[in-house]
């Protein structure tokens, strides 16, 4: 390493001193999330009928390597069905502390009912608050349990700290 090379190196670092930082000031600025990012689960409905896609088959729970999913199925009321199939998920819970966000449940699902979305701000205070039930995950629910609780307390809308590319199955569908 000659003295000239060292001077050259010093010049390189000095040049970088005056470049703009690439840091995203996360809570204030929104983080960019890639379109295929795997975050918190969404439970989808059929866009046309509004019926739940989940038929309570428990295949997601079987596929789950972390044993994070608990499904309890029940027969549909024929006059007022909850899901499009014979049965529906009476209880559908995912423990977000156990979940490793691998997406196997998404792959195992025969009806495409469970989809991993983009939300990742799942921090909370108590163990039981990490068990997400159906109302916390049904499509249209925005934000984690904590975010929704805080938003309700402050009377504001849920503000997600990230932006993501389009997810057609999650967006642009009104129920």
């Amino acid at each position: 390493m000659s003295v000239l090379d060292m001077a050259k190196g010093m010049g390189v670092t000095l040049g970088h001193l005056f470049k703009r930082p690439v840091t995203v000031r996360y809570p204030e600025q929104r983080a960019q999330v890639k379109a295929r990012f795997r975050g918190r689960h969404h439970l989808l409905r059929h866009p046309d009928t509004g019926l739940e896609k989940c038929i309570g088959c428990s295949l997601c729970a079987a596929a789950c390597p972390a044993y994070a999913i608990y499904v309890e199925a029940a027969e549909n009321d024929p006059d007022n069905p909850t899901s499009a199939g014979e049965r529906y998920a009476k209880i559908y819970e995912i423990n977000m502390l156990r979940c490793i966000f691998c997406g196997f449940c998404e792959e195992a699902c025969p009806t495409g009912a469970v989809v991993l979305g983009h939300e990742f701000e799942l921090a909370d205070y108590r163990y039981q608050d990490f068990v997400y039930a159906k109302p916390d995950m049904l499509v249209g629910t925005k934000g984690s349990k904590w975010q929704r609780r805080e938003a309700e307390r402050k009377g504001k809308e849920v503000r997600l700290g990230f932006e993501a590319g389009p997810r057609p199955e999650l967006e642009g569908v009104d129920y």
């Binding site: 060292m6 190196g9 670092t13 000095l14 840091t23």
Partner: protein, 338 residues
């Protein structure tokens, strides 16, 4: 000439507080600057621009669990960081910051010693005891190895440092820092400049090694050697070592400025802007120190750490010789040319 004792006490107290406050904010400045070098922002969460970060760090350091290793030599273990910080602080006292009686009628230095140069070299060397005893008293083989490594490094680089200083001392004919500044070693003869430039470069490198900064920061070496002698230290004792390191950095920057760059004096053309500006106390010394401290941070952002054998080889086979050559050159010029 000399101030009354109580004035000296006040000055010493203010100097210590300024140095410790300087240390606290130096950590912030260093982290922000390194962040900027790496396209990051650095700490900006605590207070505006992160200005309260040092206070948060201090609170954290004080209230962390203070572990005293059960197998440690307790007295020495507690004493070692104290040795480091006390002698780091004490060394700075001999640096003059302005002409006599210029600081509200008081002398802008704590001590004006006739052996100022030797005094600073001696006090910074005693800091090695803090490192060595810390490693020894921890009763951990890795701490001991780390402290041995660090002591060897600091002692080796002191040689090059001392030899580099020798040129300045020969030219000035005095060890009194205040007289050296007033004399201005560069103004005597252009024939002395080559020797001075070589000595300056050697001193700068040796000074960087002496204060354990990158690329000579083997004593710390967080990444691969897990902080050597400080491995067993936690909480405020660890913070004291850090303090000592940064105060040594200030001392080193001030010492280099005083020996080679005219200390508290500024170039004469500043007098044309505001009369007397060139001999303002403190200001110019702080400006020069800031330049050197920026240089240290810049080096940290640029270079990787040397390997231990490279470090020793460089110290003994190059720096020692460069310092010796500068001393011989200056001596020859003084003997035969002037």
């Amino acid at each position: 000439m000399n101030d009354p004792l109580w004035v000296t006490f006040i000055k010493a107290l203010v100097l210590v507080l300024v140095l410790l406050g300087g240390f606290a904010y130096m950590t912030l400045i260093e982290r922000r600057l390194l962040g900027a070098f790496q396209h990051r922002i650095g700490p900006n969460r605590v207070g505006p621009f992160g200005l309260l970060q040092p206070i948060a760090d201090a609170i954290k350091a004080i209230f962390k669990e203070d572990i005293i290793v059960s197998a440690a030599d307790k007295v020495v273990y507690v004493l070692a960081p104290g040795i480091s910080i006390i002698f780091a602080l004490v060394a700075f006292g001999a640096i003059p910051a302005g002409p006599a009686k210029s600081l509200f009628g008081a002398n802008p230095w704590v001590m004006n010693l006739d052996v100022g140069v030797l005094y600073i070299l001696a006090m910074t060397s005693i800091g090695v005891y803090g490192i060595f005893l810390g490693g020894w008293a921890s009763n951990s083989k890795y701490s001991l190895l780390g402290s041995l490594r660090s002591s060897a490094q600091i002692i080796s680089y002191e040689l090059g440092m001392g030899l580099a200083v020798l040129s300045v001392i020969m030219i000035g004919g005095t060890l009194n820092l205040q007289k050296l500044v007033e004399l201005n070693v560069w103004s005597i003869s252009p024939w002395l400049w080559p020797g001075l430039v070589i000595a300056f470069v050697a001193f700068l490198i040796a000074g960087t090694a002496e204060i354990n900064r990158v690329p000579f920061d083997l004593p710390e070496a967080e990444q691969e050697l897990v902080a050597g002698y400080q491995t067993e230290y936690t909480s405020i004792k660890w913070a004291l070592y850090q303090m000592a390191e940064y105060v040594n950095m200030f001392t080193s920057a001030a010492f280099i400025s005083t020996l080679f760059l005219g200390g508290w004096r500024a170039p004469g053309f500043f007098n044309a802007i505001i009369p007397g500006m060139a001999s303002w106390p403190i200001v110019w010394l702080v400006v020069k120190m800031a330049i050197f401290i920026f240089l240290f941070i810049w080096l940290k952002a640029t270079f990787m750490r040397l390997r231990y054998d490279q470090l020793m080889r460089f110290g003994w086979l190059y720096l020692f010789e460069i310092g010796l050559f500068a001393a011989l050159l200056t001596g020859a010029v003084i003997a035969f040319v002037l």
